[in-house]
Symmetry: C2
């Protein structure tokens, strides 16, 4: 690339960041009703531009097919009429959520009479850097604007026409609203230089959210001068405790693994209490194999599951995020050994225990430091919608700011507000 082209990209990105900051400042001053109306207009605009969005998507799909992109990736890229309707519906749902901005929380009165509270305000400008799924364009914009922020979107090159069509629709929707159009901007180039420049705009951008593979997230984190919300990977565990009932174990393990194996809250390693193994593991393994799951077990698992095909697991299997119909299985001596395995190999995403023992359930819930810990429920519930946040913008596995699924409220912060009658400090 020529120096001229580089400086042109830098100027474009800086201009976008500056306009986003200005848009965020005016959005922050609007009331909840104005923000809701703007989101509804965005949803309507997706509906009225359905044909353009589908045409753009067809263009992306044919390029991807020419480039022999893999089947699962094509699936994530593909939009049909129903999918575009769902896009609009998701934006409408976010529009209808509670609005948290401006509320004062944790009010107290100090001994000197000062009234102190914490008022929820937008973060400001959020940059989303994401890979192939075009629905992120609409979801992220809706959540960011709901929380009074502006968003800069940088999608993957595979979905560039789809993203552009969706972003154009969203911006057109904003025309008649009080939210400035520049509250939603899509980076107009897929040149990677644009990301580098984006990550230097700490003066204008408050938060970067990368969504995609681990290498993308690591690269963004290493380069960014702006705080980054990270979600590296989901090596999720289910632990079948000593007393785990067979049918419940089957239901939870099969659902966690099979219902949608390609996503981050799918099960990757099954841990079984030694005293439950002979009773519980064979029927669970049967159902898994029937569902097409390939098992990789510790030596005692292989020995126990005589009739069922199971490969020998290696050390790497305990770290693996398969995102596929493969499952690592290990027998552990007890609850404490399960906790040690999770602390060592886990990714701070999601872990579940199947047990009827309240004390051991509580021990598991307290001791596991992952962002979502479940008792007697599928790991697939680790999701903003399922946990009651409405839509989610991502799942944080780093502990700063937010941990676990993040909704609109996680895109806000709180400032201290203090009301006095002339108090000075002694």
């Amino acid at each position: 690339m020529t120096v001229a082209a580089e400086s042109e990209i830098a100027a474009t990105i800086e201009g976008m960041a500056r306009r986003a900051r200005a848009a965020a400042l005016s959005s922050a001053r609007l009331d909840a009703a104005a923000r809701r109306r703007a989101l509804e207009a965005m949803a309507d605009a997706i509906d009225t531009h359905r044909e353009q969005i589908l045409a753009a998507n067809a263009l992306d799909l044919s390029t991807a097919e020419r480039n022999r992109v893999s089947g699962p990736m094509l699936d994530r890229l593909r939009l049909d009429e129903r999918a575009v309707k769902k896009l609009a519906a998701a934006v409408r749902e976010v529009a209808g959520q509670d609005d948290h901005l401006g509320t004062i929380e944790e009010e107290l009165v100090r001994p000197n009479g000062l009234r102190v509270g914490r008022m929820r305000i937008p973060l400001g400008v959020v940059a989303m850097i994401y890979e192939s799924r075009p629905n992120v364009t609409a979801d992220a914009a809706a959540l960011c604007l709901k929380a009074g922020n502006a968003v800069i979107l940088r999608g993957g090159s595979e979905a560039q026409h789809s993203n552009r069509a969706i972003a154009d629709a969203l911006r057109e929707g904003l025309t008649g609203s009080q939210v400035p159009q520049d509250a939603v901007q899509l980076v107009p180039t897929t040149d990677r230089k644009a990301i580098d420049v984006l990550l230097e705009q700490e003066q204008f951008i408050d938060l970067v959210i990368p969504r995609g593979g681990e290498s993308l997230i690591r690269a963004v984190t290493a380069k960014s001068r702006i705080p980054v919300l990270q979600h590296y990977k989901g090596v999720c565990h289910v632990f079948l405790d000593e007393d785990a009932p067979v049918q419940r174990s089957i239901d939870i393990v099969v659902n966690s693994k099979v219902q949608r194996p390609g996503v981050c809250n799918a099960l990757e390693t099954l841990l079984v209490h030694r005293d439950a193994a002979a009773r519980v593991l064979p029927p669970v393994a049967d159902k898994l194999v029937q569902a097409g799951v390939e098992l990789r077990g510790s030596p005692d698992v292989v020995a126990l599951l005589g009739g069922v095909p199971v490969k020998m697991a290696t050390e790497e299997d305990w770290y693996a995020e398969y995102l596929d119909l493969t499952l690592a299985v290990r027998i552990v001596d007890d609850l404490e050994a399960a906790l040690d395995h999770i602390a060592r190999y886990g990714s701070n995403h999601t872990e579940a225990i199947v047990t009827d023992d309240t004390e051991r359930a509580e021990r598991f819930v307290s001791a596991v430091q992952s962002s979502t810990v479940l008792v007697n429920a599928s790991t697939r519930f680790a999701d903003g919608g399922e946990l009651g946040l409405g839509a989610e913008i991502g799942i944080s596995t780093s502990k700063l700011h937010a941990y676990g699924p993040m909704g609109a409220r996680e895109l806000t912060t709180r400032k201290f507000v203090v009301f006095g009658e002339g108090q000075v400090r002694k």
Copy 2:
């Protein structure tokens, strides 16, 4: 430095980070009473080691004097018997604060019967990188341990003997407690290479808090792979509104500027409503000048304050954090112009309005995006202790995770906890 020395430093720091992670994991499993007892033992150990701490401090002071360190810096470095007693008292006060760990907040029941809540847990390992004040060693350790974390302390070279003596006392205090000694570790070298290595330990360290000058904070932010809580500077404003009463204006402006000019919540720019200027500014300026404050005013301020010495302000004055008895003064057309000035030149730290008009007070509180916004009170109240957080570990002016003064609770995060009876995702 030789390569051997470099790799030795790297090995030392990595070992510390690894031990801190292990210490954090065991601390997280303790109950509130065990943590409180450990903090009380730390406070007692400061008392019993008072002589050693004072002797170490005398050594640092004599080195600083030999190096012709400036007066204010010597003051920040100096400990006397009373100061060491206050150190212990501060640790004891943190010990007595409410403990937030393990409490489940925001419980709700989903339509499918899942009970969802958010449990407060420690962040894990916190690295503090700070400059000359040795009291940070004890304060930071107390707050981090109160919140169930481990801390790695890296103080400035000027205070190295004081920091070592305090850290040794704290660790000795932990000997008889359930909190591992390695929950408090002081980096044993003042070599800057140690900071570089520290900032690469994202596997073991969850948060970095730099406290010191802007250049330190910028350098840490640029290099760190670990999330950083930033506090760049405090360019704090007071706005005297149209109807600001004279005596209250004097009280708040003088206290904000003069009570402790060297700290971040001291007033740096005074804004005055044009219609109030002739009435309010001369008496306020008189008192400021009597208190030894040098004024730098916009041309209309200079014209108005005929009898009082006031220099002409330049554009740089509006950005300045003087940390000294200097004050920039500007007349603005109205409240909106004051908001624009703050948005342009402010640092997201602390701003105050003096007014009796409820509507304009609310407008100011809503529109100013700074981390602390006050009505009719001194900017000096922007402080964790004054706002009811107990002690503070720093003041964040970046909006992620925490914004404004941070206490022990801001050193925690929340995980999702979910209780089911076998629910799977449809």
